[in-house]
Symmetry: C2
Subunit: 348 residues, 2 copies
Amino acid sequence: MSKIAIIGLGLIGGSIGLALKQSKTPGLTVVGHDAEPSVNAKAVKRGAVDKAPWRLADVVEGADMVVIATPVLAIRETLEFIGPMVSPDCVVTDTGSTKEAVMSWAGQYLPQEVSFVGGHPMAGKELSGIEHADANLFRNARWVVIPAKNAKDRAVKTVVDMAQLLGARPYFLDAFEHDSYVAAVSHLPILLSAALVSATTKSSSWRELSKLASTGYRDVSRLASGDPVMNLDICLTNRDGIVHWLDAAIKQLYGYRSMVNAAGQDESATEKLAEAFAHSWQEREKWVARFESGTDMEAEVQGEPLPSSGQQMLDMIVGSHLRQRYQHLTKLWEHQDQDPRRRRLRKS
Amino acid sequence: MSKIAIIGLGLIGGSIGLALKQSKTPGLTVVGHDAEPSVNAKAVKRGAVDKAPWRLADVVEGADMVVIATPVLAIRETLEFIGPMVSPDCVVTDTGSTKEAVMSWAGQYLPQEVSFVGGHPMAGKELSGIEHADANLFRNARWVVIPAKNAKDRAVKTVVDMAQLLGARPYFLDAFEHDSYVAAVSHLPILLSAALVSATTKSSSWRELSKLASTGYRDVSRLASGDPVMNLDICLTNRDGIVHWLDAAIKQLYGYRSMVNAAGQDESATEKLAEAFAHSWQEREKWVARFESGTDMEAEVQGEPLPSSGQQMLDMIVGSHLRQRYQHLTKLWEHQDQDPRRRRLRKS
């Protein structure tokens, strides 16, 4: 018999529960708890947990593993609260979006003999809550694993096993690396998304503008629909990284502003803008090919880079696709450059 | 017998062809042309056009309607080239992303008696080319219709009929309004997307960062995969609108930067950041509910606003959903504020 306790039954906690229950692991009991009373009943009804006792002490008591799946700031109070209750053999893990603060709270509030192994599944949806929980949410996603210094090997293995049971790919990092990386690829996108929504909806013409907003607007604004409490907690615990990447994005947007402003009047600005679009197009195509194929996820349980032969093969495949589209585009540009009307237009 | 000619057989032109052919309209012949020879053969093979003669004159000759579906700058040369060939009864339309320049080129290059009716279907994908053409691309999308001053009523009706045949909802605007609105809801998202990709992929840590990039990064960066030639042409023909909205977005991002930087040290900055996330979350939820239900698209063939009773009903439905989530969030924040540890954390 083993018992896993999940604290926080939103999208992530609920999805972990669903996936664990659906794994039909013999002898496994999944117990859960959410600060919002109505969520507990829903989680039982959806089959995400076997039971959801109201007293947190009953949830944690005798648990072999505790998974804390709340917004980041609530992880602190949860660790402080459960610290005196967990048994020495218990493995404590979390799913918080930032990791430096969490690792330091674990050191502060958990007894020395309890193993803490920080976690962060790189998966999500803009729709929060147990209603949107999905047993397949973590399939093929990376699951960042950050063992505390005093974590026992057995505890690390338990967290890796759980991530794999859920279909995810464990990926070892340290907390500082994790927080710097997600500032760029998770938190900056949230702020760009929110900035798009703020800037447009504040406009006195929003009522008219909004009627032309379509799938492009929908996708770029998607992350603005994320849970505001989660986003606030992220900003409060990853300030420096986020400010750094906001500066990089603002600089980039200023660059586009100058190029757009000069384009059509100044041939070299037009060329630069064309190159900028071609460059971001090419880099995005390369990344998306790797992301969707999962190709660069192999052999990385230890954080190892891809074997170079696999890398070369991928570059060949992605490369030939890109080369084809690139040649096509280059031809179009050459054609445009030979067209005196187009030259005039760009100068007019 | 009627003949429709489509010039430019990429995603948009190809999708129009597929939808027209699949409508099985009796007596309709669809003829197409693309500057790239291999595309013509593919368009015939996919069933997007009945034939694709190599000489543009053969495509246009005897056509009752010509649909120009090229990137914006190529519309100019196309209009100039076909001007002397089209019959006086021919209706010429386009699908260009910006409209002021197109309307002026039409006035300049088409004979006075030929009716030009500008068009812009508000639909797309980041994947360009005939390979990704889709007969259902325009279903429920708005189709902006901008008749030239000299366009005959019959010509306007023909374009409206075609848009409706394709499942789209015609929407009348003038060219200036169109270009200002799409600068905010179509072109700004493209530049935010491209800026995200440029800023992150330029980083010397991109190789590591990219491994943690997941669905959030994928969605916000999606428009960076759009055709670079289309994006360049958009910037060259909608400069002022784009610069205006880039400034608005940069201002907004600076605002976030100050709030994030001060948050945790200054209670009021934390509150402001929380409100900013709650506000953009709320506005995005409202917009997406309207967009997905198509509720605010009714009764707008003449650009009329929604009848107020329908509007009130929508506000009620969207409103109660939002009220629920809002109350939940407010409760969470109140709870956080009562927690002295959390206060300390924010101040530390």
